[in-house]
Point group: C2
Chain length 109, copies 2
């Protein structure tokens, strides 16, 4: 194995660690979409979106194909949706912990 497994995992997660890339993946959960659609929803420059799509493509998380004049993107595996869901759960857990702390702090004062 040339790259240690934990490093490959880290790269995977780091790939998801960007707001635009997260939004793209969320949009792609509903099925393939042309860049034009993504661009209409995400509020970022076309070239920037393209760069972020390239990052996802290089990581193998999405795939792209041309359909006439449009370029379509799709999740390369539906497992991605699970990952996003798991992320959401943790965020929920962490934020409620934070909130209870906040509530406690307020009580002490």
């Amino acid at each position: 194995m040339s790259v240690p497994l934990y490093q490959a995992k880290a790269e995977m997660f780091r790939t998801l660690g960007h707001p635009v890339r997260i939004r793209v993946l969320e949009l792609l959960q509903d099925g393939p979409r042309p860049v034009r659609d993504l661009l209409a929803e995400i509020d970022v420059e076309a070239s920037n979106l393209s760069q972020q799509l390239a990052v996802l493509r290089r990581a193998g998380i999405v795939t792209s194909f041309r359909d006439g004049a449009l370029v379509m993107y799709a999740l390369s595996t539906p497992d991605v949706a699970d990952l996003l869901a798991a992320g959401r759960r943790i965020l929920g857990a962490v934020l409620t912990d934070r909130d209870s702390l906040l509530v406690e702090l307020r009580r002490q004062k």
Copy 2:
């Protein structure tokens, strides 16, 4: 909401996107551990490990407490294990895709 949800998600994933931090989380899946143990397993300078632990702590993914002379770390929620598992699955999917591509390439030549 001060921080858009997708940005909070991105930060979450970014937090996991570092080899040392991934290893720490994997080790903590089996229960709380003192820094000393982590240090023995991870091959990184103490100060570096400490910095990475601080990143995880700030994100609310782990918690720490002192036990005599030792500082212990633990996952703040067991959900983290799910996330790591989901990551593993995707990595598997992506890598087998890559491998089949490689095989195809080899065949063409």
